[in-house]
Subunit: 191 residues, 2 copies
DNA sequence: TACACATTGGAGCAAACGCTCAAATTCGTG
DNA sequence: CACGAATTTGAGCGTTTGCTCCAATGTGTA
């Protein structure tokens, strides 16, 4: 299935419609009709290309996560400031905020039973911790590897909380607090 | 309605059943049948006492929030350590974790349209920020009121992130990170 | 006891849901 | 053009959902 050109175009239209509807109305209000109406296709076309509604949603989440995977090019050089800013962007940028919100929703609902997404998110998170830890090591000579990992873990948790607070209350000065958190968690200058 | 003794008892059974089911299976899997089966009542009895399924849920959330309202007795004396520990407990304690999780779910789903819960949660949050800010002022003389409020806001956001991380990954050493966050965000000793 | 009204259970309704199916149409290829 | 395969449509199926209705029963009061 889906080997002709038109089929692939329809598939893309459906994924776009799903992503947009998801961003606008959230996970709970997302019905098949919402998707098919928006993509301007019949229900049959949808099921010719996807096994289920959930499959389309997971594919959207997968694409979103894929889209923000760490850029291997800059590896080993970025500063903690850059990484922090990138993390904040992950939540703020409407193109990727989706993945973050849906992931949190799934996590809170205890619905992270889906093998594919769960492991993917987990791998993504571990990679991020490792990347932050490496930056900590680079910028603070006295740090041991394990200490750096702890600091990275802690900073990321704090940043996530700041982003979440901002989601709930848009007046929360996210950028300022994010940088302040980095400064606070960073080891003292003298080390 | 609900003026006889048996009615009030049934009402309590329904609220208990709703809270327990909510804690066990989450918001999405909560059907009316789940509630009525657990409370051992018919659907008619339920609707004799509540306007809708949502009304019962909101009442459960309201009670949970009410149950963790700051204790006025200790006001003006608690240390930041105590407040931090209390906040962590709010998420960890199964009796109250419910309210926190459901609130986050609602917030992420963008479903905080309900006037009652939204304002109540907001008031609750502001009170907590104020309480943390007061403790900051008490323990750090050089601080101005506005600075203390910012620190309180920042610490609470960071703590929330730590709790959320712990919800997703139970191996996250929540207690240790929470205390470390407090130490990091607290102004340096010399101030 | 007599009365008004609160309470109860559960059959079943109307709407919404994800999804199926078969017939019709479009597409790429030799 | 001819042919098989892919694609499309949308009515409608089966299920689940929140909720209604009402006859039967229980409860408090005078």
């Amino acid at each position: 299935m889906a080997r002709y050109r038109v089929g692939l175009e329809t598939r893309r239209r459906i994924l776009d419609a799903t992503r947009e509807a998801l961003a606008e109305d959230g996970l709970n209000d997302l019905t098949l009709k919402t998707i098919t109406d928006r993509a301007d296709v019949g229900a049959g076309s949808f099921y010719n290309l996807f096994d289920s509604k959930e499959a389309a949603i997971l594919e959207v989440v997968r694409e979103a996560i894929e889209g923000v995977d760490p850029d291997p090019a800059g590896l080993g050089k970025e500063r903690l400031e850059d990484l922090t800013e990138a993390f904040v962007s992950f939540f703020v940028d409407p193109r990727t905020a989706l993945a973050a919100r849906i992931y949190l929703q799934l996590a809170l609902a205890g619905a992270l039973s889906d093998e594919g997404v769960a492991t993917r998110v987990d791998r993504h998170h571990r990679a991020r911790v490792a990347r932050f830890a490496a930056a900590f090591l680079r910028e603070h000579d006295a740090l041991e590897a394990e200490q750096a990992r702890r600091l990275a873990e802690r900073l990321l948790a704090a940043l996530m909380g700041a982003c979440l607070t901002w989601v709930v209350d848009p007046e929360f000065p996210l950028q300022a607090h994010a940088m302040a958190l980095l400064a606070a968690i960073r080891p003292a200058e003298g080390a």
